[in-house]
């Protein structure tokens, strides 16, 4: 999956590839299916008719428990497919840069504190510590909705009956998962109210972020720093920066931050 070269993409600002096409597709599928699941999940509650949203022309289908249930299933399949892909893909490639590390909570406070006060942030790896925490939180919440949602899918099969407790807890925990996912997304989007974070938006749109930004904020992201340096060196676009300068060789056995070059 070749990326557009930085040169053809943004002629003036030097950029590097931050998010591979695979990551961007997964993010788009997860985001859109989650959005669909929230909308149709509320359709499983007596919500749209009660609050007259189903009275709005064009939205009457939201008042149908049946239509919204089948759409909920559809979005759930997309989400589960994307999540399985995501877990397996990164497990096989041994890319764990987004998993939380010890001290992330404290470091998040430092980074966010510096960001709000407009001071210089402590350098981060590919992901800011709060991004790793956000990932874990959202992953947990989505995992909870998937596990409990699957139980609901099973119990809806004709002839399959489970205990009262199973009905109660799958519904209650599915609702809790819904709430957590919802809060997670609000926080996720609120992060982009802060200017420094907006530099990351391009990474999820077309894959590119500024080389300077990478050097300043993600100084501990070895791969990114290498790409940024070679890109800024001017002549070579990031993709052909393959032969690495020997002193920048990633030490063997180094911990997770070695997210491999986006491809």
């Amino acid at each position: 999956m070749p990326e557009k070269s930085a040169a053809t993409h943004t002629p003036k600002v030097v950029t590097i590839t931050r998010q591979s096409r695979s990551n961007r597709i997964v993010h788009a599928l997860v985001a859109s299916s989650t959005f669909g699941l929230i909308v149709t999940g509320l359709g499983q509650m007596p919500f749209y008719s009660r609050y007259k949203i189903a009275d709005i022309p064009g939205l009457t289908w939201l008042g149908s428990y049946e239509i919204t249930l089948w759409l909920h299933y559809l979005f759930a399949f997309v989400l589960m497919g994307a999540v399985t892909y995501h877990i397996l893909y990164h497990a096989l490639r041994r890319e764990f840069a987004i998993l939380p590390k010890r001290g992330d909570f404290k470091h998040s406070l430092q980074v966010i504190g510096a960001m709000v006060r407009g001071q210089k942030e402590p350098p981060s790896e590919k992901y800011l510590p709060e991004q790793r925490l956000a990932y874990a939180f959202i992953a947990f919440a989505i995992g909870l909705t998937i596990v409990t949602g699957l139980i609901k899918v099973y119990t809806n099969v004709p002839g399959w009956n489970v205990s009262d407790g199973m009905h109660f807890w799958s519904a209650q925990l599915h609702n809790l998962g819904f709430f957590l996912v919802f809060m997670g997304i609000i926080a996720h989007l609120a992060a982009f109210l802060f200017k420094p974070n907006r530099k990351l938006l391009g990474g999820m749109r077309h894959g590119q972020v500024e080389a300077h930004y990478t050097l300043e904020r993600h100084a501990h992201w070895k791969e990114g720093v290498q790409k940024a340096r070679s890109a800024l060196a001017g002549q070579t676009p990031p993709e052909s920066a393959a032969p690495k300068p020997p002193e920048e060789e990633t030490p063997k056995g180094d911990r997770p931050c070695e997210e491999s070059a986006a491809r």
Binding site: M1, Y65, A76, F77, V83, I87, I151, V153, Y154, V157
Partner: protein
């Protein structure tokens, strides 16, 4: 949370759910305690000699202590709607299902001058849509197959009524959990319906309606025997059955000489004639389907989705490795 841990949790929970559901499904048909009932319309005469049919009185007497007692201050409209469902001033009504009347006898004049009396109540479905689709999971089913709403934890959104093939559960405002949360903004009361005298069935006793019926029109018993008996009686009179296959199977089987589509049409006509569009007088449409009847196929799709994702991941990783090799 460590990713392996996460993976393990997903695996354990899906395995657990599979283990818990499969035996339950297999056990269903052999379930020794599963009960059913016959309502024999060739026997019921609607207790025309009484003011109120005996089964209805029996049901009301037995359950009087469980009827809703709403607080006046909570009897307010469901914002932003301008209505709320309050039957507390019509507790005496026995001509339909209400939160205060869990069974009633529909008097049906069928063409040809005949009158059929049809006692109505919850069918106690094999796959109860009300239970499976309750967004709070507060509808239970006893070992005997009696479907029961937990009125204390019900939020009164009435989804069970909307998804029940017969719209059986009825709502009373001003009671239930929502009064303790945001009574103005969310929730609507609690839902009430026949609970199959679950307490009696659990003690191997007969439900109240069966005991009081002077004509033996209502018979409870082990489901297999009930089904066999219903078929035998219907065959003997060249009659019709209702409830055996409807909504994917229920535990209540009606027997009638008059075809059920005729009864259904007569009920619909009468409701249209009297402009009765409130819930509480169920139809009798043969072969009515539950909205969940297609859920089986979609279950298969829910297994295929992760497999497709896994396959795509395998291919993507393989390709990227190939590319790395080519580049090297």
């Amino acid at each position: 949370m460590d990713r392996r841990d996460f993976f393990k949790r997903v695996a354990v929970a899906s395995a657990a759910s599979a283990v818990l559901t499969v035996p339950a499904a297999q056990a269903r048909d052999r379930a020794s305690r599963k009960m059913g009932s016959i309502i024999d319309l060739t026997r019921c005469d609607g207790c025309v000699h009484l003011n109120t049919p005996a089964c209805v009185t029996a049901c009301r007497d037995k359950n009087a202590g469980r009827f809703p007692e709403p607080e006046e201050r909570f009897l307010q409209d469901y914002w932003p709607q301008d209505f709320h469902e309050d039957w507390s001033s019509e507790r005496d009504r026995t001509d339909r299902l209400t939160p205060y009347n869990w069974t009633f006898v529909e008097r049906v004049e069928v063409p040809g001058g005949e009158t059929v009396f049809v006692p109505r109540r919850c069918m106690h479905c094999d796959d109860a849509a009300c239970q499976k689709l309750c967004p709070f999971g507060v509808i239970g089913k006893s070992e005997e197959g009696a479907v029961n709403i937990d009125t204390e934890f019900c939020m009164g959104g009435a989804k069970c009524r909307a998804t029940c093939p017969w719209n059986i559960p009825q709502r009373q405002a001003g009671v239930g959990l929502y009064t303790k949360l945001l009574p103005k903004l969310a929730g609507g009361g609690s839902m009430y319906k026949c609970d199959g005298c679950a307490d009696r069935l659990a003690n191997d006793e007969k439900p109240a309606c069966e005991i009081e019926c002077p004509r033996d029109a209502i018979t409870f018993g082990p489901i297999d025997e009930i089904k066999a008996e219903a078929k035998r009686r219907a065959e003997a009179i060249g009659g019709h059955l209702y409830g055996l296959d409807e909504a994917g199977g229920t535990s209540t089987i009606y027997i009638s000489k008059v075809p059920f589509e005729v009864i259904d049409r007569a009920i619909a006509l009468d409701k249209a004639h009297t402009q009765d569009d409130l819930p509480g007088r169920p139809h009798m449409r043969p072969e009515i389907q539950s909205s969940l009847q297609n859920a089986g196929g979609l279950f298969v799709a829910s297994v295929l989705a992760p497999i497709a994702g896994a396959a795509a991941a395998g291919i993507a990783v393989y390709k990227s490795r190939q590319k790395e090799r080519d580049d090297a």
